[in-house]
């Protein structure tokens, strides 16, 4: 009962003349379910980097370093 149903790989690919429909469904679903997490990983990294550089800039400003090239808080604080 748990044996492979197909006799050959070609038969598996052909899906009884429904190959284009079956593989079109598989391909798009696989693509979507790979892209979504990849984009999220990239987004998280970008967000962490942005917040970290923002915090660094703020702590420079707050530490009394008046040589900092920005006189005021940036990035919409308060």
């Amino acid at each position: 009962m748990m044996g492979i149903y197909w006799n050959s790989f070609a038969e598996f690919l052909a899906m009884g003349h429904h190959g284009i429909y079956v593989w079109g469904a598989v391909g798009v679903m696989a693509l979507a379910m790979i892209l979504e997490p990849l984009l999220l990983v990239r987004g998280q990294k970008a967000l962490v980097a942005r917040l970290q550089s923002q915090f660094r800039a703020e702590s420079r400003d707050n530490s009394g370093d008046r040589r900092a090239d920005r006189p005021f808080h940036s990035e919409g604080q308060h």
Partner: protein, 251 residues
């Protein structure tokens, strides 16, 4: 068991939830992979052909899980949105926002795989049948929720407006689910019913259920990833976010 009870409410605070979610994500990925491999193996390699539909029926192993998830995620999203609206829980509103894109993706995949199944079986990619039309409306509800929330700058107001839209849209879910019973549709009836024994071969049923479980685990993993981003973004003024990012959080 007295003395061992965990204070679950603690995890309702974004501060406690953020690291917990980070630790849970790999486990949900692992479960999604195991269920996915097992389900696709049964569905695409072991399950016999369908007497009426030939091999094209194998789209069922993608189409049914995607459709179930599109409806289920909407209910969960509306639940969290409603909770946020009623009790002003910050985290539950963020959860609703995090679920919407994944729900929209599954609604799209349901329509896409359905069109590719409809063409060889019915001879058409699309009909304005009750089941198909109500699923399309579900996709629009997700897109509307996302668009509405991103159009409002104040996050708390965006949460409220989105929650109302999400709750009103819940009425569409039973319409989708029962459409094949209520109306004479081209779409076939349910493959799996809670009240009668399934009309399909055991391997087909298991393949489908395992694929559905894989999609479920996938949806949880992805939603947790997204809600962590929303938490960081919205709580960026707090000391704990600085603490977490100073602690060398890199991913």
């Amino acid at each position: 068991m007295p003395g061992t009870s965990i204070n679950w409410y603690r995890f309702a605070s974004p501060q406690a939830f953020y690291p917990l979610a980070g630790r849970m994500i790999p486990w949900f990925w692992a479960l999604a992979a195991v269920f996915g491999v097992a389900g696709l193996y049964l569905g695409f390699l072991v399950a016999p052909t369908d007497a009426q539909q030939g091999e094209g029926y194998r789209i069922i192993f993608l189409h049914v899980p995607a459709s179930w998830m599109s409806m289920f995620i909407y209910l969960v999203m509306a639940f969290w949105a409603g909770l946020g609206l009623a009790f002003n829980f910050r985290l539950s509103a963020m959860m609703a926002t995090a679920l919407a894109p994944t729900g929209a993706l599954f609604a799209f995949l349901s329509l896409w795989t359905g069109a590719l199944w409809g063409k060889p079986m019915w001879g058409t990619w699309w009909v304005w049948d009750a089941r198909l039309t109500s699923e399309l409306i579900l996709l629009f509800l997700y897109v509307g929720f996302i668009a509405l929330q991103s159009a409002i700058d104040d996050p708390r107001r965006a949460d409220k407006a989105g929650a109302i839209l999400a709750l009103v849209g819940v009425v569409n879910i039973p319409i989708i689910y029962f459409s094949v019973k209520w109306w004479n549709t081209l779409h076939q009836g349910s493959s799996v019913s809670l009240t009668k024994s399934p009309s399909m071969a055991t391997t087909m049923l298991w393949g489908m259920l395992l694929c559905a479980l894989a999609c479920w685990m996938y949806a949880i993993a992805v939603a947790l990833m997204r809600v962590r981003m929303i938490v960081l973004e919205r709580e960026r003024q707090t000391e704990w976010v600085r603490e977490v990012l100073r602690g060398g959080e890199s991913a």
